[in-house]
C-alpha cells in the first residue's frame, strides 16, 4: 500500500504549518488557503508581497508564507501602490476586511482601483467589525444587530450597507471585480478559480482586481458555525449578489 | 558694492518675475551672490506681483529687505504701495506709461521711464519689463550692460525676432537712464 500512495491533498507551500488564531467557523482560514494555493499554482510565492490589514487578519503574515507588510487601518491599497510602482516585477496583494476597506480605507481603495494599480485585493466581507468586538460596519445589513447597533442597523440613521464590488465596477478604468462566497464546498471551488484568476491577471500585468468574499463571523454574529452559514445564505446573499461585475475580458461579463 | 537690493512690482503678467530672474542670472555671471524672492500665493494669480533680488559680493543674510536700494514700479498700485519704501538715497524707477503721477519724495532719485510706449514703438508692448531692466542697469550700474545682454541672449534667445526686440529695448532703456541721470550719479 505504502508504495502506491499518491498525495491528493496537502498544505500549500504558501501556507505555514501552524494553528491560526481565528474563531471556530470563521472562513478566514479557507480564504487564506485559496490565496496560498493560487500563489503556489502560479509559481509566484517567491516574488510576492502581501499587505496585511488592521482587523482579524492583521496577523495574516503568520499564516501566509511570503514577504509581508503590515498596513495602517485602511491603507493597504496605498502601501500596495507604493510598493508595486517601485517593483512592478513583483506580485502585490492586499487582504482586507470590510471595516478596513469599506470604511476607513474607502478613499484608498477607490483611488487604487481608479488608477488601475496592478494589484490584487482580497476583500473579506463579513458584515461586521470582528477584531474590535462586533461593531457595525459599512456592510452591516439593515436591522442587523451589532454592539454599536443594539436595536439593529437603522438605515434611516446610518444609511444602507455599501456594495463595494458594484461601487468599484462603476469606475471607467478597466479592472476585474467579482463577488464570491466560501460558505459551501461548491462556492469555495468557484472562489478558488476566481482568486486564482485575479492573481493571474496581475502576473500578466493586465489590471487591478478586487475579489469580494462573503465570509462568516459566528462569534460576533452570535451564531454557531452552522447557523452562521445559513445566516449568510439567507441574509447576505440576497443583498450582496455573487458574480462578476467587471472584467478586462469583455466576453466574461455576464 | 557690498549688497544691492532691487524690487520689481506690478501686475501679474507684466514680466516682473522674469525681469527679476534675469537680474539674478546676470548676477551669477558676475560671480555675485544672488537671491530672488517672489511674492507668492493667491495674489500671484492675477493680482499684484512683486519680487526682490539681492545681489552681494559676500554671503547674503536676510533675503527679506524692508527698504530696498531700488524699486521699479510697473503700475499705480505698486507706485502707491512701494514708493515710500525706497531706501533714502536710493532709486525709484517709475513706468510713466501707466503711472501718471510722481513721488513727492526728494531723498531719492526718481527715474520716469515710458516703458510701455517704448516697447510698443519697438514692436511689442510686452517687452516693457526689459525696458525697465535696461533702465535699472543704466541707472544703478550694479551689473555690466554686456553681462545682462548676454543673459538675455541665453535665456530669451529661443525666438530670434523677440530676442532682437528685447535687445533693442534693453539698450533703449539703458540709454534713457544714462541720458537722464548721467554716469556719475548712478545709484
Amino acid at each position: 500500500m505504502a508504495n502506491h500512495s499518491n498525495t491528493i491533498f496537502s498544505r500549500p507551500e504558501a501556507l505555514y504549518d501552524t494553528v491560526t488564531h481565528y474563531c471556530p467557523g470563521c472562513t478566514h482560514g479557507v480564504i487564506h488557503r485559496l490565496v496560498a494555493e493560487s500563489l503556489d499554482e502560479l509559481g509566484v510565492r517567491e516574488r510576492t508581497v502581501g499587505v496585511a490589514p488592521v482587523g482579524c487578519s492583521v496577523l495574516a503574515y503568520n499564516y501566509i508564507n511570503c514577504d509581508f507588510m503590515e498596513a495602517a487601518h485602511g491603507r493597504a491599497p496605498a502601501l500596495a501602490t507604493g510598493f508595486k510602482r517601485m517593483r512592478p516585477d513583483m506580485i502585490v496583494f492586499t487582504y482586507q476586511g470590510d471595516g478596513d476597506l469599506a470604511s476607513i480605507g474607502m478613499g484608498e481603495i477607490v483611488h487604487a482601483a481608479n488608477r488601475g494599480e496592478k494589484i490584487t485585493v482580497i476583500f473579506v466581507n463579513n458584515a461586521i467589525y470582528g477584531m474590535t468586538g462586533g461593531q457595525m460596519a459599512p456592510t452591516t445589513l439593515a436591522n442587523q444587530i451589532t454592539t454599536t447597533s443594539p436595536n439593529g442597523r437603522n438605515v434611516t440613521d446610518t444609511g444602507y450597507p455599501i456594495r463595494i464590488a458594484e461601487l468599484l465596477a462603476t469606475l471607467q478604468t478597466p479592472g476585474y471585480i467579482e463577488r464570491v462566497a466560501v460558505h459551501t464546498p461548491q462556492h469555495i471551488i468557484h472562489a478558488k478559480k476566481v482568486i486564482r484568476r485575479a492573481f493571474k491577471y496581475q502576473v500578466e500585468n493586465r489590471c487591478f482586481s478586487l475579489i469580494e468574499v462573503l465570509s462568516t463571523c459566528p462569534t460576533n454574529w452570535g451564531y454557531t458555525p452552522g447557523e452562521a452559514i445559513k445566516w449568510l445564505e439567507d441574509n447576505m446573499r440576497p443583498y450582496f449578489p455573487l458574480g462578476c461585475f467587471k472584467t478586462p475580458d469583455v466576453k466574461e461579463v455576464r | 558694492m557690498e549688497q544691492y537690493e532691487v524690487m520689481l512690482a506690478g501686475f501679474g503678467g507684466q514680466g516682473i518675475m522674469t525681469a527679476g530672474q534675469l537680474i539674478a542670472y546676470a548676477g551669477i555671471k558676475e560671480d555675485k551672490q544672488v537671491a530672488w524672492i517672489p511674492s507668492y500665493g493667491p495674489e500671484m494669480r492675477g493680482g499684484t506681483a512683486y519680487c526682490t533680488v539681492v545681489l552681494s559680493d559676500t554671503r547674503i543674510g536676510s533675503p527679506i529687505v524692508t527698504n530696498p536700494r531700488c524699486i521699479c514700479v510697473f503700475n499705480r498700485p505698486s507706485f502707491d504701495k512701494f514708493g515710500p519704501k525706497v531706501k533714502p538715497g536710493g532709486l525709484f524707477i517709475v513706468n510713466s506709461s501707466l503711472i501718471n503721477v510722481t513721488s513727492d519724495r526728494t531723498d531719492f532719485i526718481q527715474l520716469l521711464v515710458p516703458a510701455n510706449e517704448m516697447a510698443l514703438k519697438a514692436g511689442n508692448g510686452k517687452a516693457a519689463n526689459i525696458v525697465i531692466l535696461g533702465a535699472f542697469i543704466g541707472a544703478s550700474g550694479v551689473l555690466k550692460y554686456e553681462t545682462v545682454r548676454e543673459t538675455l541672449i541665453e535665456k530669451l534667445g529661443k525666438k530670434k525676432e523677440y530676442l532682437d526686440l528685447n535687445l533693442q529695448v534693453l539698450e533703449e532703456g539703458y540709454n534713457l537712464a544714462l541720458e537722464t541721470i548721467g554716469q556719475k550719479d548712478r545709484v
Binding site: 511570503c66 507604493g82 510598493f83 | 507668492y40 547674503i60 536676510s62
Partner: protein
C-alpha cells in the same frame, strides 16, 4: 558643475534625484507644489517613479509601501499635509523604514496661511505622530544648504533606517539662489540591507511592520529605536556659529531663514558697536544641546535670545540646553510675518 539659479523647491527636487531617489509621491499644496511639478517631468525622463496620490494620508502610506522595497523614496508637503502624513510617519518609524519627508512650512494652526513660518517645530522634532519615536530633522537656511542637506537626508535615512525630515519655511522653497550640484553624490558606505522586501526566494519571508502585540517585544522595539536616537545625538549634531566671539554680550539662537535674517541684524548691530553672536542649529533633532550650553555659559554672554518664526517652540529646547545658566529672551513673529532686520 557650474552654479545655476534655482528655486528652492526645484533645487530640493533635483538634489533628491542626484542622491538616487527612485520614487517620489506627492499631493499638491502651496508653497511646495513646484517640487511635484518638477518631478512630474524629471522622474519619468529618468525611468523613475512619480505618482500624485489622492491625499496626503495615502501619499504617506504609499511612501511606506515604496520604502519597503529598500529603494530611496521621498515626499514633500507643507504643514497641513504633513499633519495628514503623521500616521504613515509613525508607522515608518516603528517599522524602521528609511524615507525622506520635506516640510516647506507655512503658518498654522489649522489651515493657517500660505506664507513662511516655522511653526511645525514641535511636530517635527518631538515625533509628530503617536508612539515613542523621533525623526532626524534638518533645517537649511539657504537654497544651497537645502540641496546639501537633502542629499544627506537620504544617506542618514539609510544609515539609521529611520525617516528623516527636512524642514524649510516657505521662503526656502520659493526663493531662487545660485546652487551647485556635485557631479556625483559621494557618500560613506552603508550597512547592507537585510530587511527589504524582495520576495522570499532562497530565504525565509520578511515582514515590515510596526505591530508587536507582545508587550515585551514592543518595549524591546521602543528601546531599540531609543538607542538609535541616542546614537544620532552622539553622531549627527550639526550647527554653525556666526560672529561668535568673546566680545558678544548676546547669543542668538535661530535656524533656517530666521537665522539669515539674524545675521543681517547682527551685522547692523556690529556697526552700532553692539556685539552679538549667532548659534544656528542645523540639526533640530538631534538638538545641539551641549554645544548651546557651552556657548551660552561663556562669561561674556549676558542673555540668550531665541528668535523664531513661531511662538517660542524651539525656545523650550534652548531652555533645556541652557538650564537656567543665563537669562533667556525671545523674539519672533509667526503666521506668515517674516521679521526683518
Amino acid at each position: 558643475m557650474a552654479k545655476i539659479l534655482m528655486k528652492g523647491n526645484e533645487a530640493i527636487a533635483e538634489a533628491a534625484v542626484k542622491a538616487g531617489a527612485q520614487g517620489y509621491f506627492c499631493y499638491p499644496i502651496t508653497p511646495q507644489s513646484e517640487v511635484a511639478e518638477y518631478m512630474s517631468r524629471r522622474m519619468p525622463e529618468l525611468g523613475r517613479v512619480f505618482l500624485q496620490g489622492e491625499s496626503e494620508v495615502a501619499v504617506g502610506n504609499m511612501l511606506f509601501g515604496a520604502a519597503s522595497t529598500g529603494l530611496r523614496v521621498f515626499t514633500t508637503s507643507s504643514s497641513p499635509g504633513i499633519s495628514l502624513m503623521q500616521e504613515a510617519i509613525s508607522y515608518m518609524a516603528g517599522a524602521q523604514l528609511p524615507a525622506v519627508i520635506v516640510n516647506i512650512m507655512r503658518g498654522g494652526p489649522g489651515l493657517g496661511g500660505i506664507l513662511p513660518a516655522q511653526s511645525d517645530y514641535f511636530q517635527a522634532v518631538k515625533g509628530g505622530g503617536h508612539g515613542d519615536y523621533r525623526l532626524l530633522v534638518l533645517a537649511p537656511s539657504t537654497v544651497q544648504e537645502a540641496v546639501d542637506l537633502m542629499m544627506l537626508s537620504f544617506h542618514l535615512a539609510d544609515k539609521y533606517r529611520n525617516p528623516v525630515m527636512m524642514i524649510g519655511d516657505g521662503m526656502i522653497g520659493q526663493m531662487m539662489e545660485a546652487v551647485e550640484f556635485p557631479d556625483e553624490y559621494k557618500e560613506d558606505p552603508l550597512p547592507p540591507k537585510d530587511w527589504d522586501l524582495t520576495g522570499a526566494k532562497g530565504r525565509s519571508p520578511r515582514v515590515v511592520k510596526s505591530l508587536f502585540l507582545d508587550p515585551v517585544k514592543l518595549e524591546d522595539n521602543s528601546w531599540l529605536l531609543h538607542e538609535k536616537y541616542e546614537r544620532m545625538k552622539r553622531e549627527e549634531v550639526r550647527y554653525e556659529l556666526y560672529k561668535v566671539s568673546a566680545k558678544n554680550k548676546i547669543l542668538i539662537i535661530a535656524y533656517g531663514t530666521m537665522a539669515r535674517i539674524c545675521q543681517t541684524a547682527i551685522d547692523e548691530l556690529e556697526q552700532e558697536g553692539i556685539s552679538v553672536g549667532l548659534f544656528r542649529p542645523i540639526s533640530l533633532f538631534p538638538f545641539p544641546e551641549k554645544e548651546i550650553k557651552k556657548e551660552a555659559s561663556k562669561k561674556n554672554i549676558q542673555t540668550v535670545l531665541t528668535v523664531e518664526m513661531s511662538t517660542a517652540q524651539m525656545m523650550e529646547d534652548v531652555e533645556r540646553a541652557v538650564l537656567g545658566a543665563k537669562p533667556m529672551a525671545f523674539f519672533g513673529h509667526t503666521g506668515g510675518i517674516v521679521p526683518t532686520p
